[in-house]
């Protein structure tokens, strides 16, 4: 986090607090990443036990969110941060909300994995789900990386990959819809698979949000809901 000079406040205590908050967010990111990874694995390998484990582990994510939130409120109240410090705290509050949602999606996948393992039904779309899952996982990892390194370029490039995920998700949905029309007896299983695909797609959206917060944190500009080309031309560093 060199760009923000978080360790250069006159108040050492403040430095420690910010450092601590940043580490906790990264730890939470790691945990969430692991949850998504394991949820997906449970789903693909019809591992009901692992799925159950993922579903029950979500409370850890939730607890971390509450803790970090509390710490951010303390900093706001006691330090009255301004400029980059203020943007960091606001970004952290927002990032952990998205991370918590991602955790919820992982929990969802874990529970569906349990159901699907019992019905032994997920095998049919394993390939498509794996492809979507891999895209989502790498995007989440890159988004968290961009946050950790405050890399605006990486953040913008990562956010752009949401298009691929959406496309993949659309394809999978079409397949599932066709299958559903052909074989209405499997509607319960197919719907669950659809929900899982939907969860993965949502994780992609949350990753985009994280990328956008990184741009706000570093550049001080809110790029949500503005034309993506404009964002790219404005913030992407030109190759030299």
């Amino acid at each position: 986090m060199d760009k923000l000079h978080l360790d250069q406040h006159i108040s050492q205590q403040f430095n420690h607090e910010l450092e601590d908050i940043r580490n906790r967010v990264l730890a939470m990111g790691g945990l969430v990443e692991q949850q998504v990874d394991q949820g997906l694995t449970a789903l693909l390998e019809s591992d009901g036990e692992l799925g159950q484990q993922v579903a029950t582990a979500d409370f850890e994510v939730n607890a971390m969110e509450v803790e970090i939130d509390e710490e951010c409120i303390q900093i706001l109240a006691r330090r009255q941060p301004a400029a980059s410090d203020l943007r960091l705290i606001v970004t952290v509050i927002k990032v952990i909300t998205d991370l918590e949602r991602i955790g919820d999606e992982a929990e969802k996948m874990g529970r569906f994995a349990v159901d699907l393992a019992e019905a032994n039904a997920a095998t049919s779309y394993r390939k498509e789900l794996r492809r979507l899952g891999d895209l989502v996982k790498s995007m989440l990892r890159d988004a968290l990386d961009a946050f950790a390194r405050l890399d605006v370029d990486a953040a913008i490039k990562t956010a752009a990959r949401d298009e691929d995920i959406n496309a993949e998700y659309q394809t999978l949905q079409r397949l599932l819809a066709t299958h559903l029309m052909e074989d209405p007896r499997q509607v319960s299983q197919l719907l669950k698979i659809t929900w899982c695909a939907r969860a993965l797609e949502r994780i992609g959206d949350h990753s985009v949000n994280i990328c956008e917060y990184v741009v706000y944190l570093v550049k001080g500009r809110d790029i949500r809901h503005i034309n993506f080309d404009q964002v790219q031309s404005e913030f992407l560093s030109k190759p030299t």
């Binding site: 406040h9 403040f14 301004a82 980059s84 001080g220």
Partner: protein, 278 residues
Amino acid sequence: MNTKSNTSAASDAFDNLKETVGVVTVDDPKMSARNVDVFYGEKQAIYDVSLDIANNEVIAMIGPSGCGKSTFLRCLNRMNDSIPTCRVTGEMSLDGEDLYGAGLDPVLLRARVGMVFQKPNPFAKSIYDNVAYGPRIHGLASNRAELDDIVISSLQKAGLHEEVQDRLDAPGTSLSGGQQQRLCIARTIAVSPEVILMDEPCSALDPIATARIEELIDELRENYAIAIVTHSMQQAARVSQRTAYFHLGKLVEVGSTNNIFTNPRHELTENYITGRFG
């Protein structure tokens, strides 16, 4: 820790500072300064500062001690004239009239550009006489009734009338610190200035009295152009619409208060308002 490189980076940023970041001008300025240099003897206190002060707006000037913000403020009504070694170059104007030219008398200027000081400094006179002093020396009231009107309306505008209406004959120094400062503001308003300059008006006051003064500043904004120097960044953030950051005699950055406090553009401004090594 990497303080050394940061400090040198900051001083590089300062040395490379050619011109102020942000827009120093406003449409229809009340007062404006262009390329102002101020010297105390051989020592230069202000380097090439240009800044406009707009009507119905509070502009806050912040910066570390000795950055020249107070000096700049005091140039705006020529309070520095009394320092023999002080020399001001560049252009400063009020409604387009040159401040340091032959046309504008300093006494007249100070009647139009009032000043409130860091330490509440009521005269050793009654509350009434404190407020009436300015109108008396300028002959603004032709009889006692008119003077009464000016005094009462000034006290009302300063939000002090209710508290002191029963004891207008009491000495001004018998009031509390916050009341004294509001008395000083009433005294300034009584001369009907167009611009009010405030030099750290709340630095000697407790938070409640400070909040009252800040509320008053916000009300006064409706009718006056206000420039305030403050050491409290929170205060600058609360009361001002525009903020100017001074550093070692240079005006580093000017911008809307909203921007300065969330996303300053210059590294020095950022360092100062976030409390980093600078």
